[in-house]
Symmetry: C2
Subunit: 244 residues, 2 copies
């Protein structure tokens, strides 16, 4: 059975198969070697994720759950929404966020003891880009104050890194990584939160690199069925003999 | 369990999760409603596909095979390779192509009696674009004569449509559909055979439309877990009560 890499997260995961998206890029990268299973839930925080986790990753989840080799856990952007502004209903206090992340990790660890779990911190927030978007799309819901701030996202990113450390898990510090790039506010984010193609590409490469360090890579995963380049021109079906 | 849509085909399927690819666009379209499972095998013809079908779609295939609601069968571009030129080893005679397609359909029908099977004809060939590509990449393998022709692709497309008719299956006549577009040789094909973003988009829309006619659509498939827009701001977890 072909191995599965599960992407569990919020809207940045749910929309990861859009044009240029990091999820689609992963599926393309692992074509013939692993299935990338999309489990993104737009707007979700860790509290809702935990409420839904049995359904998402339990016995009936991800196609019966066989063959799962890696899971990315990518929440925090909604937990970090400011508690008394337009997205207050998505806010989760920092301490609960940490507890919830630990519970998610614990669930995945129990379900698949050998699985590689990668935590991904929330990305940075560009308040100007966010306000522009919020004013255009949610004119009547907003006080004019940002529903997310970069400081809050940074605090949740730090908390995510700390949980990864406690659990001995690899973590992608996306909050810091994105801010290393020139003009990251516009080059990486299209609405102050979600990714442009460049932002998607940063995350794609980070996930591939992190998986490789955990021995999940094109070098370690078997290729499903003979490659066309392995066929003997005079007897192509011979290549199947060793594999089927 | 989330329904699965399986894409079974050759390189045009295998590379369908590249940027702008029709497979990734399908996965994005069906996000939260269906998993799109990629089973593309570059260079494969129907003879090789049939040799491998038990492994690809059998008991161990597509994650155990539960929940499969639709399968696209998209072969012919390699079968139609000219029998005595550079890609001769991929060639399958027209009559055998038809027999093989019938056998593939029969296998899928037995495996999942209720499944929607969509046949897709090979795309048209732009010989000039193909020769340019072949000369650049396979300089030493080529006689200067095209390894594929549009006439041959057309004959295989016609055969595919005829098999669909016999089996009572929906078919996407991609060979004709693409040639209706202005400057299709360059706008839809990047190397005389494989798709540009525009070509990918044509196929994506055809697949969505065909699935809809077969009652596989965003209107008929349930959404996995409550949408963020369905959450009560004062009690978001309430939305889970009816679903979990």
């Amino acid at each position: 059975m072909r191995p599965k890499i599960v992407l569990f997260g919020d809207s940045i995961t749910e929309e990861s198969f859009r044009e240029g998206g990091w999820g689609a890029a992963l599926a393309n990268h692992f074509t013939r070697t692993a299935d990338v299973v999309l489990r993104g839930y737009s707007g979700y925080n860790t509290r809702w994720a935990l409420r839904a986790i049995e359904r998402v990753l339990g016995a009936e989840g991800v196609g019966g759950g066989e063959g799962v080799v890696a899971v990315t856990v990518f929440f925090g952007a909604n937990d970090a929404a400011v508690h008394d502004r337009a997205s207050a209903f998505q806010h989760v206090p920092l301490d609960e966020y940490k507890l919830n992340l630990r519970s998610i990790v614990s669930f995945v660890n129990k379900r698949w003891p050998e699985v590689v779990i990668i935590l991904i911190t929330p990305p940075p927030i560009d308040v100007e880009g966010r306000l522009r978007y919020v004013i255009i799309y949610y004119l009547f819901q907003t006080s004019g104050l940002p529903e997310r701030t970069n400081e809050a996202a940074g605090a949740y990113a730090k908390a995510c890194i700390s949980v990864a450390g406690e659990c001995g898990l690899p973590v992608i510090d996306l909050w810091s990584r994105i801010q290393q790039l020139d003009d990251w506010e516009k080059s990486c984010l299209r609405d102050g939160l979600h990714f442009t193609c460049i932002g998607n590409d940063v995350l794609f490469k980070e996930v591939v690199d992190t998986l490789r360090k955990e021995s999940v890579s094109l070098e370690t995963l078997p290729v499903d069925l003979p490659l066309c380049s392995e066929m003997y021109p005079n007897d192509p079906l011979k290549a199947f003999e060793s594999q089927i």
